[in-house]
Symmetry: C2
Subunit: 344 residues, 2 copies
């Protein structure tokens, strides 16, 4: 299992930034979700972590709210008041949650944040409808919450990111059965699946602060590179992560023969570990704990972990380098650092 | 089988209005869909009727474009140029198509417009992703195509309609297993599933013409009532319609034990036909052609067809009565008439 690499003090500061974003966004999210009819409202509350299956209010583990935090921190870094950016922060979180609900269904993922996924509890139809409704709510929050003059560009950017997420998820599903895919194809998929929305979150933060077009474009680039770093770390956690921290079954990605970054790198490394790993991935045999452990050992032996870590660190540096020089923010540096050193 | 009841000349005029709307919208739709990545772009083209499964360009039967026609006709009736409303017309068609793709999957409908549905050809994952992408495109077309000052209200209305469609579809699925549902519950479901988007189509037409808020609200009400009339006629066609005209298997709704308006009315009529129909709907026996024919006869004998026709006609009158007195449009009257007398 991996451990946190960052000094405790940095993690603590990132936790505070994320926690503040969650607290600031919650009222907007509650109002938005409150506009849904039952039972979609209750299912949304369950998914976000506000209640049990039966609607009993109870605080469960929620998402990190990294995207919302990026929007708010970028807005502040550009001299804007985070209050103006709150609808944008809530909107990106709603889009994120819409894609989680649909992706869990498509990926047949059974567990999220330590609890059964929406489709597992309510079935595929409700998962599709909840995702669709959250998608609509996200747009609604943005169009009604931002100053009118910002709405056309903000909505265009969010809708474009949403379409790009679909492209990325489609490529992700296609990669599962494509043994020939390399790091380049993988990077392009991740740019859609994870980069687009993080880029949009940052761009919207700048837009809300009244930043000029080149600055907004640079912020978008920062968020995209950071998003790719985030996904690379996600891939590491998906193999070496701890269930207690992630809320997902350990070795889930290996069990499902997922071709995540460390696996792609390992499979293309050309040694005996690569050959044995390829054999395990080709075999229809069930992935027992022993086979998962063996696959994990092989990916690491073939250099998959070290290379994936190096890729993630390089992405984080690319992200910071994309930040406009006049946007100076300790909070963004802390968040960027936390993304590459997170364990969940 | 039902026949067209309207004089041929009225149908012919409606066909011209719809055909013009399709022609006007097509370039906007082509540009929007052209922004999708492959294979989603090709799947969208197949669904809309532009190409075969393999992408070969070929004109297949397309949707009626009734919603687009409403947007354009309302805009013109309010003194606006239809050109301004084109992005709105394209956007409502895209939302409509997004819901068709998702609904076909949820309803496990195998045929649309005489061809296999998207999920039948490409599977559930691609159907989910295409629907999501069309949803995003719809918002994108509206936010980038309308004059900036109109965008906040237009997008808010479209997103609200989209969320209401989810509510309606959820209630529709719930009604399938609810033997106690009456006409009231059914009407509320239809207002979400069909009324909301037609109301939005009309409201956006008014908005694009610069109509004032009370006028836009009245246009929304007109479209909603018309949408309900449309669904009631859809229910009639779903039982008594002709496959050649509808592109769907004959008696499809009865075969699936769907509780559409004529069935609900028949089941609650209290006579011997109602009892026999209830027995057929309760039975797990396969719906052979003979059983479908028998169910159809029973629904008609129990007054389901006559009452549904009366409901549809009343809805059409309610729709016209909701039109603001200063919005006078022969085209809208022709469309309203065509909705209640259509056979597909």
């Amino acid at each position: 299992m991996i451990n946190a690499h960052a000094p405790a003090v940095a993690d603590d500061r990132a936790d505070k930034i994320l926690s503040r974003a969650r607290t600031l966004c919650q009222p907007q999210l509650k109002i938005a979700v409150g506009a849904l009819s039952e039972p979609l409202q209750r299912i949304a509350g369950y998914h976000i972590g506000w209640c049990d299956e039966d609607g009993t209010a109870r605080s469960h583990r929620s998402g990190k709210a990294l995207r919302a935090a990026l929007t708010l921190c970028v807005c502040q870094a550009c001299g804007g008041s985070p209050t103006v950016a709150l609808p944008a922060a809530a909107a990106v979180e709603l889009i994120h949650n819409f894609t989680l609900v649909h992706d869990d269904l498509m990926d047949t993922d059974e567990t999220r944040r330590g609890r059964p996924t929406v489709w597992r509890v309510w079935g595929a139809d409700d998962a599709i409808l909840l995702g669709d409704a959250l998608h609509a709510l996200a747009i609604s929050v943005l169009a009604t919450g931002l100053p009118g003059g910002l709405v056309p560009e903000a909505v265009s950017r969010l809708a474009a990111a949403s379409a790009e997420l679909c492209r990325g998820q489609h490529e992700d599903l296609a990669l599962e059965t494509d043994a020939s895919a390399g790091v380049e194809e993988y990077l392009q998929m991740v740019m859609g699946k994870t980069g687009a929305l993080m880029g949009c979150a940052c761009a919207l933060g700048g837009l809300c602060a009244g930043a000029d077009e080149p600055t907004v474009a640079a912020l978008d680039a920062y968020g995209r590179e950071l998003g790719v770093a985030f996904q690379f770390v996600d891939d590491i956690i998906g193999i070496w992560g701890d269930t207690a921290a992630t809320g997902k079954p350990v070795g889930n990605d290996l069990a499902r023969h997922k071709r995540s970054l460390p696996v792609i790198i390992a499979l293309r490394s050309g040694g005996s570990a690569a050959a044995e790993l390829a054999e395990i991935y080709r075999s229809p045999e069930p992935m027992t704990t022993a086979r998962i452990d063996r696959a994990r050992t092989l990916v690491e032996a073939a250099g998959g972990l070290a290379a994936a870590r190096a890729h993630a660190a390089r992405q984080a540096r690319k992200a910071l380098a994309a930040l406009p020089s006049h946007v100076v923010s300790t909070d963004l540096e802390i968040l960027t650092d936390a993304v590459t050193h997170r364990v969940r």
